[in-house]
Structures are given as C-alpha cells and as structure tokens.
Symmetry: C2
Subunit: 215 residues, 2 copies
Amino acid sequence: MSQTSPFFDTEFAEQFAQLLRWRRDVRHFDRRTVAEEDMRALMTCAALAPSVGNAQPWRFVRVRTPDTREALAAHVDGQSALAASHYTDQAQQDHYLSLKLHGLREAPELIAVFCDEQPEAGHGLGIATMHEMLRYSCVLAIHNLWLAARLRGIGLGWVSIVDPPAVHALLDVPATWSLIALLCIGYPADISDTPELEQRGWQQREPWTDRVFER
Amino acid sequence: MSQTSPFFDTEFAEQFAQLLRWRRDVRHFDRRTVAEEDMRALMTCAALAPSVGNAQPWRFVRVRTPDTREALAAHVDGQSALAASHYTDQAQQDHYLSLKLHGLREAPELIAVFCDEQPEAGHGLGIATMHEMLRYSCVLAIHNLWLAARLRGIGLGWVSIVDPPAVHALLDVPATWSLIALLCIGYPADISDTPELEQRGWQQREPWTDRVFER
C-alpha cells in the first residue's frame, strides 16, 4: 500500500451525484479546442478503469486527419439514414430524422475506442466463459474518461450508429481489435441536467425502482 | 434546464482521480452489513448512467435467498475449476488456483445485473448496427454504482467466471434478459490503491501511453 486511504466526505458524495446528473451525451459542440494537457488527463483517468484480469484491453485511436474525420462523418450519416428507414411509423421516422445524433464534424477531438480481443495482459483470467468482459472493460474506461471530461466542463458524445467493420477498415487497425465506440470530445454548446432525447420527447427517464427485482 | 450548472473545481478533480485510483475489485469482505439507505443511493446513482436511446435497459436482481446465493457460489467455483484446467503451464495453473476470485459467500449484498435485450424504452435508437450498446449501457450503470460505493467506503467485486445461461436459469428471469455481471457488495477487508492481481504478481499495470494511437 503506497499511501493512506483517502476519505471521501458527504460533500464529495453530493458533488459526485451532481456530476452524474449533469453528464450528458453531447452532440452540439462549440469551436473551442481542448488543451492537450486536458486530453492527457482524460486518458490517464481512462486507464485507471477496472479491467478483467487487469488486461487493460482498451486501444484509443485519435483521429487527426481531416479526410479521415470526414469519411467517418459521412459513414455515420449513411448508417443513420439507413436506421431511419427502419421506422415504419412516419411520425417516428420524422422525429428520428429531426434529431442531431453526432458532432463528428464539429468536435475538436475524435477518439475511436477499440478492444484488443486477444491481449497478452491478463493471461485469460475471467474471460473463459464471458469473453465480452474485455469489451466491457473498454466501456468502463470510456466512462472514466466521460466523467473526467464532464468535471472539466468538457463534453463527450458516444456515436454508435456505425458499421463496426467499416470503421475498422477505415482506420486500418490490427485484426484482433474490435470497435467499441466513436467518441466526439469538445466543449458543449449547451449545458443541461436533462438528456437531449428527453428534452426532445424521444424517451423519458423512468423510475429506477421499476428496474429492481428480488430472488 | 431545471437548475444552474454546477462548477467542479480542481480540488474535486483531484478527489475524483483519487476515487478512480482507490477503486478496487474486491473479493475479501468483512461481515458488516450495508445500510439499505446506502443500497438505494447506489442504485439511484446507477440509474443516472448514460444509455443508448435513453433505453435504461439495466435490470438489477438482488439475491436475498441463502440457497440461491449458495447455488451461485457453487456454480462459480465449478466454472473457476474448469477455467483453471485450461492453463497448461503448471506454475500458472497453481498461481490461478491460489487467487481468491470472488466473495459470493461473504459479501452481505449480491446483485445480478441483466440487460433487457428488447426494451420498449429507447425505440431502437442507436442499436440498429450495434445492438451491444444495450449491454454497454448496463456496464456504464454498474460503473456508476461501483464508484458511488467506493466513495462510501463500500467495496464491489465483479464476478465473470460464470456460465451466463446457467445463472439466467438459476435466477429465473425473463427470456429477453442477458446476464452482464454478478456483483458482490460489502465493506472490504483490505483497502489499497494497487489492484489485487498486481499485488499477487498476476498482471501489472502498463503505461497508458502504449495504448494510444493516431490516424
């Protein structure tokens, strides 16, 4: 043990709950850049995530090339149009099409997060029956990054309207990696404690107590 | 917007980083019970997680029956013995067998987390091509719960050495649910800023910079 265990008081607990309440999935960014020092802080926090077998299977690909960014944005627009066509109810399709679902062209920073499905680290512990634990570990790292961003006033938008193999090919990453997320990072144009999909009438929050059962 | 956006200062940022550094996967619990008020606070925090389409697909099953608990513990012991047999290197197999990998018999609270793979909420948004986003949303909820526990001095251990269909049957949950995690919750016997698998020489942390790439 390298230092004394920290004590977190009730004020911290309340601030932490505030952080969770005010974390949003951001699709509207202003043009301010994110300092490289902040980007490093976010990735440092991400790497403190739990991982199965301590495998640390997350791989972060920072997209720095304008052409690559545009190719990703165009790909997501295409996939989103395809998803829209699946709504047979016309009003719902119109509603879907009215939503802004990504900020891939505006966000100053883009990170594609991949999972190494065959990491040497961890030596297979904990994944014999649930191999998906590697991917879940990457999700935990993203959440650390997300919260570390929000407390700095930096927003994050998680884009999932993608065809993972297409993004894999576009970014030319190793064959053992699988795509987990495409992240847009930057300063949000709006700040709210209400999810955008709730503000726009797509889906309300429901009581958490409806989701708890006993056995 | 229902209230003024909170400001998080650098002291909070440092405390948050401490929280991440001191969050552990806990397998050794003492016998103190967790107050029901705390359990409610943890589940409230979990429900503030992001979810794809705001689908809130997490389902928490609290295991309250001693027989069910023992059946789960016996199942995990069996799966762990099976996983051990896969290590052909004898020293590694012995090392694996020397690790304590769950506290299912000692932890005062057990929660099985499932994902509803066909939730009505969210109306399919964001999952046309990546259906796994529903499961990832449940992982995000678990991480909120994990951090909310740690800041209260409460430990959490995520058990993944299970055969998901067996646990599904054991807990008799709806057919559309899939198992994400088995969580042991209680006060930890030890507190450390170093992962147990690192303390025991299974797997060290590696530099996060090795996991960042550019395109």
